[in-house]
């Protein structure tokens, strides 16, 4: 059974997913960071595949993408680094990336490789639903990859229903109409949106991301969904870290306390 499905079967609440950029801060940090995330008690690892033009990302993740690319990160390199990851990492692993590098690698090869090394799901923010259905769904299914779509406060109810129908794994609720990046707190307007979607009783679990950074925002998000995704705040933590293992443990513990 797919590890994402397994996870949500067991755990319905306070699921924590941590996003970081592959090959950042140093090229060879990818696997040690994943191991540290699991050890610290997070539930899902989201690995960002760096891209030169990340249009849905704010300055923190843009910067980590640039650094990772300058370090020499690429999909080929990433697959090499991750080829034995299942020896040391047991929680679900999701790859998140913009479409272009994946298309150049070849979608089918990419999916095949993902399954081979034990990747459980994909988040491709610039893959629109129609294109997914027309061109890629069959390949994703063949290699048993769960596909996560995003929704935002502007997404209509009708479209949320469509997205729910065609998603598996989980739905990524973008917390506000914004690009990635930590903000302070969660507004009433955001809460209203979380409640609205909660009331829709979707078939897929929901994780809330963008702007989640600490135990308070994590807990609030979890009240209205199955958990949350932390990206920029985690990237900031590891960017300044002198001891990744210790700092990751400290940070994640402070969030899930």
């Amino acid at each position: 059974m797919n590890r994402i499905d397994q996870l949500f079967e067991k755990k319905k609440d306070r699921v924590l997913s941590i996003y970081f950029t592959a090959g950042f801060p140093k090229l060879e940090d990818t696997l040690p960071i994943m191991e540290a995330i699991e050890e610290a008690g997070a539930d899902i690892i989201e690995i960002g595949v760096p891209y030169s033009d990340p249009i849905a990302d704010g300055p923190t993740i843009q910067d980590s993408n640039m650094i990772a690319l300058n370090n020499g990160m690429s999909l080929k390199k990433l697959f090499e680094q991750l080829k034995d990851m299942r020896k040391t990492v047991s929680i679900p692993v999701v790859l998140m990336g913009y479409l272009n590098p994946i298309i150049q690698y070849g979608m089918e090869n990419f999916c095949k490789k993902c399954q081979e090394i034990g990747v459980d799901g994909l988040i491709l923010p610039d893959l629109p639903m129609q294109q997914y259905l027309d061109e890629y769904k069959a390949v994703f299914d063949q290699f048993e990859l769960r596909n996560t779509f995003l929704i935002s406060p502007q997404t209509s109810e009708k479209r949320i229903r469509e997205i729910d129908e065609h998603s598996n794994g989980f739905i990524y609720m973008v917390s506000a109409h914004s690009i990635t990046g930590a903000r302070s707190g969660i507004s009433d307007e955001q809460i209203a949106y979380f409640e609205r979607v909660k009331a829709m009783q979707l078939k897929n679990p929901r994780l809330i991301g963008f702007g989640i950074s600490d135990s308070q925002t994590f807990s609030t998000a979890s009240t209205y969904s199955n958990g949350a995704i932390i990206g920029s705040a985690f990237i900031k933590t590891i960017k300044e870290s002198k001891d990744l293992k210790v700092d990751i443990k400290t940070y994640i513990s402070s969030v899930i306390q």
């Binding site: 891209y51 030169s52 033009d53 990340p54 249009i55 849905a56 990302d57 704010g58 843009q62 640039m66 690319l69 690429s74 999909l75 080929k76 913009y98 479409l99 272009n100 590098p101 994946i102 298309i103 150049q104 690698y105 923010p125 610039d126 893959l127 629109p128 129609q130 294109q131 779509f149 995003l150 929704i151 935002s152 502007q154 997404t155 209509s156 479209r159 997205i163 973008v174 109409h177 914004s178 690009i179």
Partner: protein, 392 residues
């Protein structure tokens, strides 16, 4: 047939590869733009602004000394005489009316050379709308006069400091800001690029160029159809406008001049069809300069307006099908062509446009062919670059 299909594709190219956060905006535009553009109300306002504000129709000018030199009949479509100095304003006039009809209050835009930024700031002033223009930090340096023009017009100019700090990065930044302000803001994209329906909408606004060429040429030569139309291609909006009504007239050759920068194989080039492969940039599938790993390559051209690693999907399709002929013009040759036009015709062209002039030396044609060159803009904004280059 060169035509966009229902899904927003020109053959293999186009579409709308956008993050879900942009879906409501793009969908709103897609659902409404055709109907709005077809309405009498829109057409009356658009046509009257093109006439009285932009100064259309622009002349189709017979360039006798240039013609004599090349042994053909060369007409210049004088988009340089548009208000603000380039074709860009045809599109911004159309889009600002569109934005109003959609109930938007704020405008954002990207700009490379600053021409589109100025044209956007201009129509925002005209309509009393708030305007923010994103511009690569490098372009801000090399197009100083246009930055000041935007400010005089009341626009805010925000530097894009990521990547190569040119047009592609300014476009990234504008898209991000659109994600951040989805409800009250319209994004006026400056070329036939971006997610569907932008490439088609912008092309239709610019199509007034070839609409005029047809009747003007008929008056002067007794035929609507020249043998060749030549235009420079950055994203491809002036070319799309000049080609539009000839797409499906195969006897009219369509020549697109790209920027080769320091040379196609120099590593410092913006010749997209020569160097690019299919990929996704700024929401559409098109030809794109990229590494084997799918990272976008930073382009180079002496002209900021052509310094872009992709081209509009319709041009990728023209290239792919062979309907368009593409040439790549080096910096130095473009500069010399700019001087040539200045000396022969008394017109200092934008450096973008100068690429189209040099294309005359790179293609085959018959004696007495009628050639229309789209003179997309004037050179005032480029004086600094002409002066630094110094070869006159």
């Amino acid at each position: 047939m060169i035509r966009v299909d229902e899904k927003g594709f020109y053959g293999k190219f186009g579409g709308a590869y956008i993050p879900e956060m942009l879906h409501p905006n793009i969908d709103e535009l897609k659902e409404n733009y055709e109907q709005i553009m077809a309405s009498d109300e829109f057409q009356v306002e658009f046509r009257s602004l093109l006439k009285d504000f932009v100064g259309r129709p622009t002349p189709l000018y017979f360039a006798s000394r240039l013609s004599e030199k090349y042994g053909v009949k060369i007409y210049l479509k004088r988009e340089d005489l548009c208000h603000t100095g380039a074709h860009k304003v045809n599109n911004t006039v159309g889009q600002i009316i569109m934005a109003k009809k959609l109930g938007k209050k704020r405008i954002i835009a990207e700009t490379g050379a600053g021409q589109h930024g100025v044209a956007t700031a201009t129509v925002c002033a005209l309509m009393g709308m708030e305007c923010t223009v994103y511009m690569g930090a490098l372009d801000i340096q090399r197009q100083r006069p246009n930055v000041e023009r935007m400010k005089i017009l009341g626009a805010k100019v925000v530097p894009a400091t990521s990547g190569s700090q040119t047009l592609k990065d300014a476009t990234n930044e504008a898209m991000r800001q659109w994600i951040n302000n989805p409800v009250d803001t319209h994004y006026i994209i400056g070329s036939v690029v971006g997610p569907h329906p932008y490439p088609e909408m912008v092309a239709r606004f610019q199509s007034v160029i070839s609409e005029e060429i047809k009747w003007q040429l008929k008056e002067k030569e007794g035929t609507e159809n020249p043998d060749l139309v030549i235009a420079c291609v950055g994203g491809g909006s002036n070319a799309a406008g000049a080609f539009f009504h000839y797409y499906n007239t195969p006897e009219v050759r369509l020549i697109a001049a790209e920027a080769a920068g320091l040379g196609i194989s120099s590593g410092k080039s913006a010749a997209t069809t020569a160097l690019g492969t299919p990929g996704i940039l700024h929401g559409s599938k098109t030809l794109l300069m990229q590494t084997e790993d799918g990272q976008v390559v930073e382009p180079h051209s002496i002209s900021a307006g052509l310094d872009y690693p992709g081209i509009g999907p319709v041009h990728a399709h023209l290239f792919d099908t062979g309907r368009g002929e593409f040439v790549a013009v080096e910096d130095e040759d473009a500069m010399k062509a700019g001087i040539e036009l200045s000396r022969l015709e008394g017109i200092i062209p934008a450096i973008e446009t100068a690429h189209a002039i040099h294309a005359l030396t790179m293609i085959e044609y018959k004696k007495d062919d009628i050639i229309v060159i789209n003179l997309s803009g004037r050179g005032d904004k480029d004086l600094d670059t002409y002066i630094k280059w110094g070869g006159y």
